[in-house]
């Protein structure tokens, strides 16, 4: 949470209070920088295209098997850069640009790539004075290096897929000595304000213009009352990319904006800078809590990705030559045969570090996902229970409160798996402790939940109360693990506990120590059913610039400027590691984080931060999670009900209906809101909420299997339609409905007082079955669906088989041994396939001991067959198949179960009106080989 009531803020400084004093409900934009207020962004954005001063020095080209190096020179200032090119396995190209001889090393982001990416050989096809043509392996792909100005083009056949520096916006501010120290330094070093500035035109007055330029925040800049000392001076970098034939780009979360990225001409670029934004506004490019510098480009032919590996403050400009055109204008172009090909141009600007960019060439969406996964890893495989429903509130007041909420769920027969404790549970916001009055017996409380086979999450934030009576603080101090300020003293800032230190999570020793704090004997009162929530890890510093850490704070030899966007990832990483370690490496962790970076998917779940109880916030939860899913983070959700303010009952119900079909399903509420446990809104609404939570639980086998798939392949769980229908342009901008896996299409109702929604059912070849009525609809149509308050439009794709557990119990763990019902939805060709994945639901044994069941389910030729996808796996389940529903079936005369060489008849019923065949209690074990024959 980001807000605090004034009453409780006695400790906080006036600066801090003023931060939160905005009484209107909206972000105080003045607290956050625009590009114009961020010196490097302003400098970089002032550059005009088409004037690149960079030239490739082809004579410096060196080619080893897998690595090509080449020097670039900035003709304005004669600074040499080193370009490295790699062809990576799996159809990717990596481009690195750094200074050839920097004054001191520049930051390269560690710990994001899961390994040094394996390379493939590159070879020179031709070379002349103007450039070099390289072969990118077998796929008819070439990389053309043009010398003057420097430019890279990636081609496939005759087509340019993507160009770098095609607009000449490469700009690399080299490290330099400040003029104060200049006198003693090497006078030969040419210095200027911005590499590649339009100084070509005014090059003569370079030396004179220098002092003026110094004013532009090169060596110091001030925002509001905060001064950034910038001891290293200007260090920013920038590069442009052109995407011919592309009109749709996605990704670069986190922004509260549409799925399809907009052009940024005339406004601010999309900003990536992890920030604790109080009461964020929707539909704008402002930075939020997390940053994943990955953009996907898509058209009917191809999907590609650009991964800009840089953890500093980053801005992304997007422009398009078709953006301004109306649909009519585009049609006119088409009719008149206008030759202008649509193109999207993208420009990345970062404050420091190096250019290290991975170009993922697809071509299919699934391929881009696996390419990105091969670089940064996949979604962690969550414990099954964490896919259930989470009940959270700031705050459940005390043990009694926890107990009565827990009982409330049972009284109202609503399942849940996790109850959460926010910051008030700790003793004076000293994380890893318990308030002695409110939570005197945490183990008793946890045991009570364990008896119900339920779990708890407690919050552990990375700001540590400066208090000599606090063990965590004392240990961090004695181990010298705190982030330092520019003067080398421990950095201190204001956060929930008052004056706080910030552990330096970039240090591996610090992370190891942090992880050890989760051991049962260290975190007193913890038990194996207690999991963790990392909030405020942007990091949030109430009295810092833009509510975060000063950029000149120090993490060892690196500035906070260099590492800012990865701080949050490290916090979650160390916490997840702690949970793994406490179980001796056996149990899977569950950690929720607010801040994130590329690679965060490996450590747990992410939520969209402090949203509000407003219809637009409900709507935006869809594109926000879709965007995250596209760049690796599948385990995403938004606070159900909205964090700030009180939702109307209708909004709350609709939010439950939407949240139940999003990956991370947690209700949460601000301290100042009225209570909103699901049963507080009258029996009708309790029933509506109960129903949709039950739908979620029934579908847990499917969710779990999708997460297994995401974990194995990088395929997003919650997906935009275009991922599965990449050639259907009608899907490219849809973000009010989505797919779960490939087989469920969900169109939540997100309008107040709605009486109907129009859902687009994709796929000309497809049929879709309403999961509630089993009514069949054809694909490639806009379907109007009348809705009531109980409606949540969901469709199962014809051709799919979804396993469900229709016996919903009070927690997912209680359902462990329950039987499955298979929902077989036939395609027009009377075919369907699906999978069934089963393991213990919580340990790493699926990985370390291959203890899981993975079955392929196929319906073809009137036979439904379960076959083993992992013959060398071993796991025993007592779950069985209690029922098979075949949607779109015709009535058989007889149904036989073939198993162990025997055939036994199976009872069935046939519903003629909806063509649903129900097989009664075939009864085979879920792990067995079997065939059901319809005759």
């Amino acid at each position: 949470m980001a807000v605090i009531s004034i009453e409780r803020m006695g400790l906080l400084s006036v600066v801090c209070v003023s931060l939160f004093f905005s009484s209107t409900f909206a972000v105080d934009r003045g607290n956050f920088k625009t590009c114009d207020q961020s010196a490097f962004c302003k400098r970089q954005r002032a550059l005009k295209p088409g004037q690149s001063p960079y030239r490739a020095l082809l004579e410096t080209l060196e080619l080893s098997d897998s690595r090509l190096t080449l020097q670039l020179i900035n003709d304005n200032n004669k600074v040499h850069l080193l370009l490295e090119l790699y062809r990576l396995q799996g159809n990717m190209t990596r481009v690195k640009i750094n200074e050839l001889k920097p004054l001191k090393p520049r930051f390269e982001v560690p710990d994001v790539l899961i390994a040094e990416p394996p390379t493939e050989p590159l070879s020179v096809l031709s070379k002349d004075d103007n450039g070099v043509v390289l072969s990118l392996g077998a796929e008819n792909q070439r990389l053309i290096v043009s010398a003057r100005p420097f430019r890279l083009d990636i081609m496939e056949g005759p087509e340019v897929l993507l160009s770098l520096n095609s607009r000449g916006l490469l700009a690399f501010e080299h490290l330099r000595l400040h003029k104060d120290t200049q006198a003693q330094a090497d006078g030969a070093e040419v210095k200027e304000s911005v590499d590649g500035d339009q100084q070509q035109d005014e090059g003569k007055k370079d030396e004179d213009g220098e002092s003026e330029k110094e004013e532009d925040g090169l060596w110091e800049e001030t925002f509001k009352s905060h001064t950034d000392t910038k001891p290293n001076g200007p260090t920013s970098i920038s590069l442009d990319f052109s995407l011919p034939g592309v009109e749709h780009v996605y990704g670069i979360p986190e922004h509260a904006d549409d799925l399809k990225l907009k052009t940024t001409d005339g406004g601010d670029p999309y900003r990536l800078y992890n920030l604790d934004v109080f009461q964020y506004e929707l539909y704008n490019p402002m930075a939020l809590y997390g940053s994943i510098p990955v953009m996907l480009a898509h058209n009917t032919q191809r999907t590609m990705g650009i991964f800009w590996l840089n953890a500093a403050e980053t801005w992304v400009d997007i422009s398009s030559n078709t953006a301004g055109k109306t649909v009519f204008g585009k049609m006119l172009d088409f009719v008149q045969g206008s030759s202008e090909k649509p193109q999207t141009d993208v420009r990345w600007i970062s404050e420091s570090g190096i250019i290290d960019v991975f170009i993922m060439l697809g071509p299919k969406p699934s391929k881009v996902f696996s390419q990105y996964a091969s670089l940064t890893g996949t979604q962690s495989f969550p414990p099954l229970a964490s896919l259930g429903y989470h009940q959270c509130r700031w705050n459940y007041n005390d043990q009694e409160d926890v107990k009565s909420v827990d009982q409330g769920f049972d009284q109202h027969d609503i399942p849940y798996d996790f109850i959460w404790l926010d910051i008030e549970h700790a003793d004076g916001k000293r994380y890893f402790t318990w308030d002695p009055h409110k939570f005197p017996q945490p183990k008793e409380m946890l045991q009570g939940l364990m008896d119900k086979r339920r779990k708890m999450v407690s919050i552990v934030d990375p700001h540590i109360r400066v208090d000599s009576g606090y063990k965590i603080h004392n240990e961090i101090t004695s181990k010298d693990f705190y982030v330092k300020n520019k003067d080398g003293k421990n950095y201190e800032g204001w956060c929930w506990p008052g004056n706080s230190g910030y552990p330096d999570f970039t240090k591996p020793e610090m992370r190891a120590w942090w992880a050890s704090m989760f051991a049962y004997d260290q975190y007193e009162g913890s038990m194996e059913n207690l999991f963790t929530w990392n909030d405020m890890n942007e990091p949030s510093v109430f009295n810092g610039p833009e509510v975060t850490m000063h950029k000149d704070a120090l993490h060892g030899k690196w500035e906070h400027r260099d590492i800012h966007n990865i701080y949050g990832l490290y916090v979650q990483m160390a916490t997840a590691e702690g949970q793994i370690q406490r179980s001796g490496g056996v149990e899977r962790p569950f950690v929720l984080t607010r801040a994130f970076f590329a690679g965060s998917q490996r450590y747990g779940a992410v939520w969209t931060g402090d949203n509000a109880a407003e219809w637009d916030h409900l709507k935006i939860s869809i594109p926000m999670c879709l965007s995250l899913g596209l760049v690796g983070v599948s385990f995403c959700g938004a606070d159900v009900g909205g964090f700030f303010k009180n939702p109307s009952t209708e909004l709350l119900v609709r939010w439950y209906q939407t949240g139940a079909y999003q990956p991370f399903f947690r209700a949460h509420a601000h301290l100042d809101t009225t209570r909103r446990e699901p049963w507080l809104f009258g029996p009708e609404n309790t029933a509506l909420i109960r129903e949709v939570i039950r739908q979620r639980y029934a579908l847990l086998p499917y969710w779990y299997q999708l997460f297994y798939q995401a974990h194995k392949t990088g395929m997003p769980v919650m997906r935009p339609l275009w991922v599965d229908y990449p050639k259907d342009t009608a899907t490219f901008t849809i973000d009010d409905e989505f797919l779960i896996g490939s087989d469920l299409l969900v169109h939540p109702v997100t309008e107040e007082g709605s009486r109907g929604v129009t859902a687009y059912l994709p796929g000309a070849e497809e049929v879709w079955y309403d999961v509630h009525t089993f009514q069949k609809h054809n694909g490639a149509q806009n379907l109007y669906i009348p809705v009531t308050l109980s409606s949540i439009p969901v469709f199962q794709r014809g051709g799919s088989i979804i396993p469900r557990k229709d016996r919903v119990r009070r927690s997912s763990t209680c359902m462990e041994n329950d039987p499955y019902t298979l929902y077989v939805a036939l395609s027009p060709k009377k075919f369907a396939e699906g999978e069934l994945y089963i393991d213990d639901g919580h340990s790493f044994n699926y990985d370390t001991k291959k203890e899981f069941i993975h079955r392929s389910l196929t319906f073809a030729n009137n036979a439904l067959t379960s076959s083993n996808l992992c013959p060398d796996c071993n796991f025993l389940t007592s779950s069985w198949i209690e029922k098979v529903l075949i949607l779109g079936a015709s009535k058989p005369s007889k149904v036989l179960l073939k198993m162990d060489g025997k055939e036994t008849p199976v009872d069935f019923e046939f519903d003629t009106s909806m063509s649903v065949l129900t097989l009664r209690k075939p009864g085979m074990n879920a792990g067995a080989d079997w065939t059901l024959l319809l005759q």
Partner: protein, 530 residues
Amino acid sequence: MTCLHLLLTLVFAVSLGTPVEIQRPRGVPLTKKQFYEEGKPFTCLDGSRTIPFDRVNDDYCDCKDGSDEPGTAACPNGSFHCTNAGYRPMFIPSSRINDGICDCCDTTDEYNSGAKCENTCKELGRKEREVLQKMAEITKEGFLLKQQLIEEAKKGREEKQGKVTDMQENKKQLEEKVEALRTVKEAAEQPEKEAKERHLKAWEEQKAAIRLEKDKAKMAEAFLELDDNSDGFVSVSELQSHAELDPDADGTLTETEVQGLMGGAAQVDTSTFESVWTNIKDKYHSESQPEEPAPVETPPDEVKEPAVDNDSEPYPEDDISEEDDEDEDDKDDYHEDDDKAPPTVKTPEKSHEDEEAMPPYDPDTQALIEAAQKARDDFEDSEKALRVMDDQIRNIEKELSFDFGPDAEFTYMYSQCYELSTSEYIYRLCPFNRVSQKPKYGGSETNLGIWGSWSGPENNKYLVMKYEHGTGCWQGPNRSTTVKLTCGKETVVTSTSEPSRCEYLMEFTTPAVCQEPANTEPSPHGHEEL
């Protein structure tokens, strides 16, 4: 599914203590046994379909109402009956069968989950009996106390009503006395007024004479001043030098204007100057003396303030609203008196230094004034006594107007406060008045709500009190408190909590809600099937 038992032998104790075996499908209460006849086709209890008996409890849901699977978790809407011999029988949702959690104390819900459940029915039964017994004792004693409370309240009420009646009677007498004294007062004030007026008139006349003389002297002086050439005449030009006399205030005193002032004459002598003087005396500035500063006027307001304060003093703050009318009457009376008060009130009249103060009253007048003053004092004293009595009556009537329960059993809490000390705060409940919270270690008190209404369930609204409109919360509602009342021997606040921000909950025990115990000795659990 492998080890499902279609039927279950149930053993439980009947009142006679002899074990009886009754066979019926698992999870079926005895009351519904008749619908489950072994070997005969089973009709779903909603009548929707009929199935062979071997499909009852076969772990597959055939009936929409779940009635074919009372003993398995197969139906989403089924319910399972546990006998819980020794304790209380109950129904649980069938989703709790074999879910690894022991719900029935007789362990019958977990027959195939591997959960290790112990039969705790006897223990629970014993405990429940103890609790019920204790409760019964409390209820019994509480109810006795309640009877006393009712008795006391009744007495108190009668007493108070009697008192009010008496006071009403006294009030009448007082009112008469007030009226009598008012007449006396008015009678005494008439001669006083006349004598004072006489005195004043004489003085006014005297003052006028003095003023006239002064004016004449001034005129003579002015004449001398104006007659610059001392020729015994004031000429137009001589007067024209006094620019302040300009009648149209345009800054210049023209000759014509001067002539106007002088009534058309070119010059005037001392005798004719008199008419000129009348024209100019208000504006005329003496040449020898500096301009006289304008007298500072004292604002005429606020003079009455203290009286108003006195007026409202005897009333408790809370009561003001209901008594506006009477109050205003009182005030009006008072103000009149004020206006007639002796001349200590400073009038805004200009008082020139050289004007003498009014001479003292002559002895006769003084005597009349003193007599009138005494009459006024007597009248005011009696009026004050009447007001005090009015207040007392009103307070008692207000108390009598509260809803203190059907038998006025809550009367005793009125004007009492009950406190509960927690780790951080001291909570204070003053029934029918307010709830507050005060930090233990310094800090000001917070109002958690003032008395609103009884808001218990329809069948007994006296189980919940609602206090509303307390101090506002930042970004939140005004604080409010719900007080839940339970039967107890003592009147105590037993717990407080804040389930939702700024919405407080208090548990409060009192004999006043103790129900009359059932006449027969409590037999806490008659088995429903016996």
